[in-house]
């Protein structure tokens, strides 16, 4: 079993090395440098550093992969970068202090959380118009749109709630109380489950989407690390549905969770203050942004090992990958 996996990974490696005229890359937002690092996913080298607006945090790709949206928090705008030229082509009216956002499957509506104003702003990415502003809890942060496009879910860090927004009416329909300081939400691919992290609470809640009820609450414990340091932020679900990865902030570890039994399988050591993550396009690697150590760790998803850590800018925050 192990040997066949080894041979397969060798083959895959050889194929990857042979067939990559257009190198797949990762874009990483560096909060303190006001830049994006472009990381080549074959050579694992930073190939370019691009200046963007002030304090870039959340970043997201358009559905066709041609544009990159960047929350320039201190510039109070969402920037649009054309990935063919890697130039900023537009600034969207995002409302004040945009931090995280999510793009609707229609590739037009962008749901942006405005941390200082307790609002979610909905912007049309084609007309650049603000479609709606929805009042939510205090300090909105995490943002996700369900795969079927019906729900936009926002987390508010101080109110400790998940806010369910109907994307048809842009009305706040329901709230789900979770543990302290919810930071991030992630839908399962079939849209039936929602994973929500609580940074201060130290937990991850798994929410049944139809009933909007918590069906499981995960806690974490790492030998030798004080429980206060275990602060879950980013959550990513592997495409094969086997694992959930939870970034544990200043605990400097990523928890590997069995996505079906909810059992924590392992804790992987990465850089300092790990927050957000992204899979490579082939799903074989998971990249983590480590803010304090200023690097990106690369986790091999097959054998659940951290393979390397690569220096990027200061305080890397968000990460996306393109084929």
């Amino acid at each position: 079993m192990k040997r066949s996996r080894f041979v397969m990974s060798l083959l895959a490696g050889a194929l990857a090395a042979a067939g990559t005229a257009h190198a797949s890359v990762a874009y990483i937002s560096n909060e303190k440098d006001d830049t994006l690092s472009v990381l080549d996913l074959n050579s694992w080298q930073v190939v370019e550093t691009i200046e963007v607006g002030e304090r870039p945090r959340g970043i997201a790709l358009s559905k066709d992969g041609s544009k990159l949206y960047i929350c320039a928090s201190d510039s109070d705008t969402v920037q649009v970068m054309d990935l063919a030229t890697r130039r900023i082509i537009a600034n969207l009216p995002s409302g004040a202090d945009p931090e995280q956002f999510a793009l609707h499957p229609d590739n037009r509506k962008l749901y942006i959380s405005n941390e200082d104003d307790a609002l979610v702003t909905v912007v049309d990415t084609q007309t650049h118009e603000v479609l709606a502003q929805i009042e939510v809890g205090v300090e909105p942060e995490g943002m996700a749109v369900s795969p079927d496009g019906r729900w936009a879910v926002n987390t508010s860090e101080t109110t400790n709630m998940l806010h369910w927004i109907d994307t048809q009416t842009h009305a706040l329909v329901d709230n789900t109380l979770v543990d302290q300081r919810p930071r991030h939400v992630e839908f399962r691919e079939d849209g039936q489950l929602l994973w929500a992290s609580a940074e201060i609470g130290g937990t991850v809640s798994v929410v049944d989407v139809p009933s909007r009820q918590i069906i499981k609450k995960l806690t974490f414990e790492i030998k030798g690390i004080h429980p206060d340091k275990i602060q879950p932020v980013g959550v990513k679900l592997s495409r094969d549905g086997r694992y959930a990865f939870v970034a544990l902030g200043p605990a400097n570890h990523v928890a590997v969770v069995d996505a079906n039994s909810y059992e924590v399988l392992d804790y992987l050591l990465v850089g300092r203050r790990v927050w957000h993550m992204a899979f490579t396009p082939d799903g074989r690697y998971l990249l983590t942004t480590n803010g304090v150590s200023g690097d990106v760790s690369v986790i091999n998803v097959d054998d659940l090992k951290v393979e390397r850590s690569i220096k990027v800018g200061r305080y890397p925050w968000g990460v996306v990958t393109t084929p």
Binding site: N252, V270, G271, S297, V298, K305, V306, E307, R308, S309
Partner: protein, 267 residues
């Protein structure tokens, strides 16, 4: 001296060392328990003490256990090299050494055979340790377990040669305690086995340089890099150079003229 006689002598020395090893099972156990204690107990206590930084050959963040494992492999080689030097003192006192040294085979060959025998046994123990360390979560690449072998052989020869050289200078068994205090401990602690040298430099510049001039530091680094399938050329050059030097010194110390001249002085 023909090849057959040489092989016969080599065979004899290696076999004798193996029998001694098998008979002294407690020695085998203690050789394993010592580094395991460090790995499990010491590393647990010091886990947080090590600064977070990536240093070659590692490509990402590592646990303290992972950091000290190569140093502990070398610790096994160090203690074995020195313990075998103790056995030389013992042999000389008990007379079995005289029998060996009286054989018509060149002494240099006997000593090299002895060095290789010590190395073989030490390396068996290192692999046993690496197997147990794997269970404790120290998982170097599998091929690294192969590439580390030549490094282990060279380091075992180096430490065995230092041990032999010292044993020629020790006249009495009790002096081995002195070897522990003045050779083993300083060599081990003033090296990169337990802490990276940049960490040492933060607290003391001169200690850092002492560590830099300690051949054991380079032996540890050679093994550390080899375990991760990399070659540390400066470490290889220094380890190789020191091995040749100390082997020559050991052979010179066991020079028959010297021992004959030294003999009346003892009586």
């Amino acid at each position: 001296m023909n090849l057959n006689t040489c092989l016969y002598a080599f065979n004899g020395v290696v076999k004798r060392e193996f029998w001694r090893f098998i008979q002294q099972r407690s020695r085998f156990l203690s050789a394993l328990v010592r580094p395991l204690l460090w790995l499990v107990v010491f590393a647990a206590g010091f886990r947080a003490a090590l600064g977070v930084a990536i240093i070659p050959p590692y490509q990402t963040y590592i646990t303290y256990e992972t950091y000290i494992a190569p140093g502990l492999c070398c610790m096994i080689l160090l203690f074995n090299g020195m313990q075998s030097s103790l056995s030389m003192v013992y042999d000389r006192e008990m007379g079995s050494m005289k029998v060996l040294l009286m054989s018509p085979v060149p002494r240099s060959w006997l000593l090299v055979s002895k060095l290789l025998a010590i190395a073989l046994i030490s390396i068996l123990q290192v692999y046993a340790f690496l197997g147990l360390a794997w269970l404790a979560g120290v998982e170097p690449p599998l091929w690294g377990l192969v590439t580390v072998l030549p490094a282990l052989v060279l380091v075992a020869l180096l430490l065995g040669a230092i041990g032999l050289f010292l044993s020629a200078r020790i006249r009495q068994l009790e002096n081995f305690a002195g070897v522990m205090n003045f050779v083993i401990f300083p060599m081990f602690f003033l090296s990169s086995a337990l802490y990276p040298l940049w960490k040492m430099r933060e607290s003391s510049e001169w200690l850092y340089w002492v560590c830099q001039y300690n051949p054991f530091t380079h032996a540890v680094e050679l093994v550390r890099f080899a375990l991760y399938q990399q070659l540390n050329l400066p470490a290889l050059a220094i380890t190789l150079g020191c091995t040749v030097l100390f082997t020559l010194l050991a052979i010179l110390s066991f020079n028959p003229e010297r021992t004959v001249r030294a003999a009346p002085a003892r009586g």
